[in-house]
Amino acid sequence: MAERTLMERLFEPAQIGHMPVGTKIVVYSLLLFWTAFVLFPIYWVFITSFKSAVDVNSGPVYLPFIDFKPSLHAWKELFVFDWEDTLKAYTNSIIISLFATALSVLIGSMAAYALARIEYAPKFGSILIFVLSMIAAFVGVGVYGVDWRLACAVAVAVFFFLIKALGRFYAARLGNGDILFWMISQRILAPVVVVVPIYMMFQSVGLLDTHLAIILTYAVVNLPIVIWLMYDFFKSIPIELEESAQLDGATRLLTFFDIVLPLSKAGLAATTLLVMILAWNEYLLALFLSTSKAQTMPILVAAMNAGERGILWWNMSVVIVVMIIPVVVMAIILQRFIAKGMLLGAVKG
């Protein structure tokens, strides 16, 4: 064994029952190093939540009870004196991320399933007409001050009229792949560009500062991820089961809910967790769509940077710590699914 290089020892395939001692040391020390790298910032945030201002500002102290006297002042500040605000933000975050995730996963996996199993072929020309009539509507609203309801109604009417009138002159069609790409590409857009239009949209229907507004927005923002992951997952499920179910007379909807979804538990769990994490942590959209009633936890984190009075590191750490807890619990519960579910389209071969 001595002549084997380090590379070879590291690339030792998994099924060999025992590892040479040298490999073991290398592997474990690398893993432990990474564990330390991952955990240290979290540990630091955790102990900072028990530090007083002086302990933070006058240089580093590392160990509670030995280096410094832990104090609960920041925890008290948030959970005794300001508990109403903290609790409000916490429940908002929970409600919003749960519902947004549920909505996103439901709608997204339905669409992903449809794209994986049903052939769609929208006409390219119709889409072009649709986009053009929408642009015309926006220009009308934005530049000429037409009422947006009127503009939308006219645009839709024009769209249907033009399809009927011109529909037979073009034949080019798009396929499922194009639809998939279009949906996924929505993820590319940076939130800062869309936040003002979305704000105006919710303002015009009076939904600002409500849970519903944020839930809908998060659901859509995360839809591409769900569609993408679940599309790959559905593709990997053997089609035979569904075909036999359909021969038995089951409808597509039934097939989907009774056969496909139970088979995709792992993929669903992993996707749910990912979307939930993204929704739980989002900041910019939440900031704009909420004023006070619907404020979420990340806004509370940002609010602890008190500008001229410095960053309230201790309070901020408390917020971060309480934000981590529920997600970690979720991750531990779902962890046996994550590994399987994060396969994406791996099983194609």
Partner: protein
Amino acid sequence: MSDNATSARAGISSPEASLTLRVRFSEWIDRHSRQLFITPAVVMILIFSIFPLVASLIIAFSRIRLRGGGYSVRFVGFDNFSKQIFGSEQFHFLGTFAPISALGWVFGLGVLGLVLFWLFKYATAKFTVLGFLGRVITASMAVGLAFMFAATLLSGKPFGTLGTTLFYVFVGCGIQFLIGLGLAFLCSQPIRGRNFFRVVFFIPMMITPIGVGYAFRMMADTTKGPFSPLWKWVGWGDFTWATDPWAARIFIVVADSWQWIPFIFIVLLAALENVPRDFVEAAQVDGASSREIFFDITWPQIVPVAATVMLIRVIEAFKIVDLPNIMTSGGPGIATESMSLHSLFAWRSLDLGQSSAVAYLLLFVTVVTCVSFFNLIVVGRMRANG
């Protein structure tokens, strides 16, 4: 089987009436299932993405001002874009240009040559109009970027937010992929505590990016952060991450990697564990070296997953904004400012036109990069693997 399930679910008492109703309902569903499945997603995306997309496109071509009772819009054509590319914001977006140095010429012309050769090869081998057009777009962006770097970085001047963003994307994602793959490989070994490592390694992803930003600001503080005694001991007490452009950029990549390696790690780990064992064992019986096993058997198996996960990661990396905003506010100078942050700053100062223009430029760069990546690498690989 399924019938029982539905009637149990519906829980209807009078079987006959419900049967016809149910049959009719399910027939209707069946007939419309094509639309039913996809319509909610399409409608939601149309409302929430297309409207803002078009609205901000209009904003990008205009000067918009918020005032009492709404806003005023004035069309200015390509002003917002030309300001970024040729005008007073050029240093900010592209970088400060200098006469191209010898090194710059070598690099720029080298890239140009390579790209032309590649195009020529494609045109002579298998030619489709659409494919060629796509490749021309990719190629011209590559050449443009090469000359941008040649005229800024390689000629001794700082580059702008475009360069910084590309640095975050390519260097950051590259590092994240390598480390993520390495960790996944280690964790796929028969070791004790795999579940422990798996959960621990996954944790950073669950922390809100704002929190990560602040946590790493504490880490990097050389006067009162946890590593300050170490810095002093090494003799770098006066060295600070935040004042040197490259150190600051690297520091942001470190924080970004800390947060996102878990994602790559967990996906690749799943892929590695899915590699059929009998393949590997058969190869071992045949006497293949472990390196051959990795590159000939394991690697091709995980490539599709790796490509997808990297594509997701690259898309998110182009949008990086919270970390530089919190850790350095884009400083020193504009060294750590990403395009998304550039857009955010413009937006905060109410310059919505510039903000949207930058965001659209970002959109363009991202789309070209991702589509090229997808078409040239992923699709190519898939074809190669059958």
